[in-house]
């Protein structure tokens, strides 16, 4: 499986109906990614970046074009197979951390592993290790409401990583945080990338995007390779 395609999009089109009209949200999007890359998708709101994220994250399938993730042709999969693929290959990090309010930090991190069907003991060990990695070992038994915004986002990152997915897919991960906390979260992403994790960051913020090694711009559903900026 050495020549297995890690991530490749070829001429992806996405058209969906909205209020009686067809919206052409993505136009002939092609994008290839190597394992271990750190990519930012930069675009203003309405540019189609959320649609792109949904397709990358296997929440949605393209109208036409090919999307290959870890050798699987995503456009051919049904709802059940998409869910299983998301569970294994994608680690979502949302703008507002989206933790379940009645579960402790530890249980929140365990959640994806429940759907994988991992035994409780192993689940706990892996979730603990991830929380330790994001620096929250002493906050494991706290409820989300007992954690700060930055801590909540760290729990969300731990949850995204716990299943060892191919891609960490972050959607404006610092959007709800203040500048200082946001910078810490961005630092964490850089570290995780240095640990060979593949990161795709969807954002409208040039400064956030500049954390990545590679930036693509998306405007009106079309993407173009941007210049590589480093501001470490």
């Amino acid at each position: 499986m050495a020549d297995e395609v890690f991530f490749r999009m070829r001429e992806i089109d996405k058209i969906y109906p909205l209020e009686g009209e067809n919206v052409h949200a993505l136009k002939k999007v092609s994008l290839t990614l190597e394992e271990g890359e750190y990519l930012s998708v930069l675009g203003p709101s309405g540019s189609g970046k959320t649609t792109l994220m949904n397709i990358i994250g296997c929440l949605d399938t393209p109208t036409s074009g090919e999307y290959t993730l870890r050798g699987r042709e995503v456009e051919d999969l049904d709802e059940q197979e998409l869910a299983e693929l998301r569970n294994r290959e994608i680690g979502f990090i949302f703008q507002n951390s989206q933790l379940l309010p009645r579960l402790t930090a530890l249980k929140n991190v365990e959640l994806p592993l429940i759907y994988t069907g991992i035994r409780p003991k192993e689940r706990r060990e892996r979730a603990e290790a991830m929380l330790e990695r994001v620096g929250l070992k002493d906050r494991m038994d706290h409820l989300p409401s007992q954690l700060s915004g930055g801590q909540q986002q760290r729990v969300a990152i731990a949850r995204a990583m716990v299943g060892n997915p191919s891609i960490l897919l972050a959607d404006e991960p610092t959007g709800a945080l203040d500048q200082k906390t946001g910078a810490q979260i961005m630092q964490l992403f850089r570290e995780l990338n240095e640990e060979k994790r593949t990161v795709i960051m969807i954002t409208h913020d040039m400064k956030i995007a500049s954390n990545a090694r590679r930036v693509v711009h998306i405007v009106d559903g079309e993407i173009s390779e941007g210049e590589v900026i480093r501001n470490v």
């Binding site: 929440l59 299983e84 998301r86 989206q98 379940l100 994806p112 429940i114 994988t116 991992i118 409780p120």
Partner: protein
């Protein structure tokens, strides 16, 4: 194969934990919802157990009363309105018959001195009745053949009458007035009917007089009801046929003059009636279960709408539709089962109390318990199905946006 089963078990366990947690987190709403199921199951259990307790007692008192006897009630024809003492001798002479006890009831007031009682029943019996029940006389003497032959104005009275009229007085030798006629009390008897509902059905008269005297007071020569005691080991249906044939002769083969019924047949009719009654009542009570089910459906639909974002997140994290559906289905199932089990407990307690109140034996009707538990499980699954299906069908993108 083994791996998929193991994953399913893990999933069921986790879904149960989540479902219980969700039930707990909405305490008031969950309680009100399961109250509907609880009341429905409680009503079904209470009605079924109470009816079966009562009918059990009735039929056991019937069978204790009616071993080896047949009851004949006579409506008569235009020419012959009842049977006479001579006719009874014909019946008594039949092969399977040991003896006959006529029952002639008397309407009239019973009084002693200035005390008047109208609710006491007075019935005429023969000496054979006392011969059969020789243990019932606890003081004085029983009525005998001489009393029958002479139509004597004598009576034996029950313990109740003694308590009513003769507190602290020896009743033997005293005079009791029935319809204004003086009767000398010669004995006192005690009925061992066991009290409670059974005594209503045994219909024990309080004052017993010779049947010939009763006929004289009634100014009638007819006997309209008598009980036939069969010889030991006699076949009930053969005896019934024999009696019917003899009665046909007495009534000149005229139709519809009499009915001969065994206690078994009465008991059977009784059982059919109580079964019908209990299924009818249970049917009515199960309407409450239906309403409870609608309550569950309502709550589950609200829950699904409230937790749209949670469903979206779980789907994004890799929950397949079946797992989401199972979580919500388990939630309504558990909610309904908790209500059902509480209903069973309260229903059994209530019917136990009712049976004690009615003086009948309480029978733990396992059928009713299974019915209650099974019903609530079914209600939980049936009414939880649509909301759970709705949850599993949510599009994760739309669901995530509903934050």
């Amino acid at each position: 194969m083994f791996e998929t089963i193991r994953k399913k078990l893990i999933m069921i366990h986790e879904s149960t934990v989540m479902a219980l947690d969700n039930i707990r987190s909405n305490k008031v709403r969950s309680f009100l919802t399961l109250l509907g199921i609880m009341i429905g199951v409680m009503a079904v259990i209470t009605l079924i157990s109470t009816v079966s307790g009562v009918s059990g007692t009735i039929s056991s008192s019937f069978s204790s009363m009616g071993v080896g006897t047949l009851t004949v009630s006579v409506t008569g024809s235009d020419l012959k309105s009842g049977v006479t003492p001579e006719d009874l001798e014909v019946i008594t002479a039949l092969e399977n018959v040991d003896g006959v006890v006529p029952s002639v009831s008397l309407n009239g007031r019973v009084s002693y001195g200035s005390d008047v009682q109208s609710r006491i029943s007075v019935s005429g019996r023969n000496a054979y009745y006392f011969f059969l029940n020789e243990d019932m006389i606890i003081q004085g003497r029983a009525l005998n053949f001489i009393d029958d032959d002479n139509s004597s104005y004598v009576c034996v009275i029950s313990q109740e009458i003694v308590d009513e009229f003769f507190l602290g007085v020896n009743p033997i030798g005293e005079t009791l007035y029935v319809s204004g006629l003086p009767f000398t009390i010669v004995g006192r008897y005690e009925e061992d009917s066991g009290g409670g509902i059974a005594s209503i059905f045994s219909g024990s008269p309080a004052v017993l007089i010779p049947y010939t005297t009763a006929m004289k007071v009634n100014n009638s020569t007819d006997i309209n009801s008598f009980t036939v005691y069969l010889k030991a080991g006699a076949d009930s249906s053969a005896a019934q046929e024999e009696i019917e044939d003899a009665m046909d002769v007495l009534f000149d083969f005229e139709e519809d003059c009499f009915t001969v019924s065994s206690m078994e047949s009465i008991e059977e009719t009784m059982n059919t009636m109580t079964t019908m009654l209990s299924s009818l009542l249970a049917g009515i009570a199960s309407i409450a279960l239906l309403v409870g089910g609608i309550g569950i459906m309502n709550m589950m639909l609200t829950t699904v709408t409230e937790r749209t974002a949670e469903i979206g997140l779980k789907k994004a994290l890799g929950a397949v539709p079946g797992q989401i559906q199972m979580q919500f289905l388990l939630e309504s199932f558990l909610l309904s089962m908790i209500g059902g089990l509480l209903g069973v407990v309260f229903g059994l307690a209530l019917s136990f109390g009712l049976c004690r109140l009615l003086g009948t034996g309480f029978v733990l009707n396992m059928g009713a318990v299974f019915l209650g538990v099974g019903f609530s499980a079914a209600v939980g699954i049936i009414f939880g199905w649509a909301p759970a299906r709705k949850a599993s069908k949510l599009n994760p993108i739309d669901a995530l946006r509903a934050v």
